[in-house]
């Protein structure tokens, strides 16, 4: 059975339909890129899975439970962790406090501290930089550091599936490479399932895995990132040449 399954998802903002009848499924351990131009509905889709944007139609299943219309905190408890666009660090909290927000979820109040300490060590092992800045205000970290922080924070909830919305946004290419290196390493280490939204398909072709291309709120292509990315098909789909 698939870890995440969307069937006929439609999302509307007022009269505007952002996503129309989108269906796809992901298996445990898979890496899936959703790419496409601005306004294709990629972010809306992620936010709908996370439970912060309501769906107008369709059904979402996660780890054997229907989660359509569920509260975000309950969806997080099923093993879904979201890294939203623009990173959304808690700027006035320290780096460590940011991480700890994600730690409380599975532990009962009593055992919280010790359990959180274990999780913290694991995240610090992956991102040593975060340990150096643990007592610094998170809002003062650089963009790349903040990106590492929010990935670390997502790990603190001990998720099965991490969804990341545009991790490259506003980062220098070499920093972006570092972020992806860590992600790939983490995936192998923790048997994570990754759902990554990117505007450009270049990264998906580099990393490999499966790629879905969206445009105008619908899926236009779905397949292996490396084979899809090579041809003219993707260009046509991306820019919508068939419309002209």
């Amino acid at each position: 059975m698939s870890l995440l399954a969307l069937s006929d998802i439609t999302i509307r903002y007022g009269r505007l339909t952002a996503v129309r009848d989108v269906s796809f499924a992901m298996n445990e351990g898979e890496i899936l890129f959703i790419t496409g131009p601005n306004g294709a509905g990629k972010s809306s889709l992620l936010r709908a899975i996370a439970g912060v944007t309501p769906v107008a139609g369709g059904r979402i299943d996660l780890a054997g439970h229907e989660i359509t219309g569920q509260a975000p905190e309950n969806i997080a408890r099923l093993g879904f962790s979201m890294v939203p666009e623009g990173r959304d660090v808690f700027g006035s909290l320290t780096t460590e406090e940011n991480l700890l927000v994600g730690a409380g979820m599975h532990a009962r109040d009593r055992g919280w501290r010790s359990r959180a300490a274990d999780e913290l060590e694991a995240v610090y092992a992956t991102f040593p930089m975060l340990k150096e800045r643990r007592h610094g205000q998170a809002g003062l970290l650089s963009g790349g550091q903040q990106q590492m922080l929010v990935i670390g924070r997502a790990l603190m909830t001990n998720p099965r599936l991490i969804a990341i919305d545009e991790p490259s946004l506003g980062l220098a290419p070499n920093i972006n490479d570092q972020v992806y290196e860590r992600l790939i390493a983490l995936r192998a280490q923790r048997q994570l399932t990754l759902l990554i939204v990117e505007q450009s398909s270049a990264r998906a072709m580099m990393v490999g895995g499966r790629m879905i291309l969206m445009r105008g709120g619908q899926i236009v292509l779905d397949g292996d990132a490396r084979t899809l990315g090579s041809g003219e098909a993707i260009q046509a789909a991306y820019f919508g040449y068939e419309d002209h």
């Binding site: 912060v52 975000p72 905190e73 969806i75 997080a76 406090e97 927000v101 919280w112």
Partner: protein
Amino acid sequence: MLQILFDALSLGSLYALGALGIALIFGVMRLVNFAHGDVIAFCVFALLWPSTDAMAIVFAGQLPWYLLVPFVLFCGAGLSVLCEIVVFRRFRNANPATMMIASFALGFVIRYFLLMLFSSRPKSINLLPELSQPVEIFGARLPLLQLITIIATMLILIGLTVFLRRTRFGLEMRAAAENFSMARMLGVRANRVIMGAFALSGALAGAIALIFVAQTGTADIQMGAAIMLMAFIATVIGGLGSLAGAVLAGFLLGAASVVMQVMLPIDARPFRDAFVYGAVILVLLFRPQGLISARGTKERV
């Protein structure tokens, strides 16, 4: 001189605690809770037995102080949480203006409930009379009550700071105040955090009620409105949603009121509040975002 300082501090304490109660709730749900003042009034009347006589029949108020204080704090917290469950929960996704109007309406409901039971006449009530004895400190004669007010406020502020910084619940509340939906995506339970904020805010209302009634010796169903106005102004000056700003601005307002009471020429003293509000306008002209601007209230792109 010392007398002025203590006056300023004790009046400021009242405003600071009030502002904190408003800022706590604004922080987690962007609601300016105008019913807060009426929760304060409710706590005062919780001490009395319902009657329409001019003389208050002190009921719960006769408890010894170590039972009285928890009782009043509990009344405030209880009513406040009840307001959340019955009213504000339904407005969770409404826009801030709608929520604000709902809070006005709720305030009136509480006020007229009190009016029904107690009539609108202010009642005199002598609570903890032993506190009005003066004490002598550094050559100044101060009412013991003033001293206790200041110490209690300091203890509350320290306690609240420790709570917000050191406990898991405090951490979740600070995270939720900054970015509520992100906190929820990390598993922070929305209902728990919001009810916690209301409970804290209600308990603060209870503390204010105790201090106020002990200071003035009257119980009046309108009394919440006056404190609420000052407390609301303090939260705005402090930067809406910023707890530290609310406290700071509360003390500043208290100081400004007391200092103007002393410094203004005798003829101008009746207009003291006009001068205080004038100062408020000046502050807002130069720092429209408040003294300490809260993160997370900024427009997101």
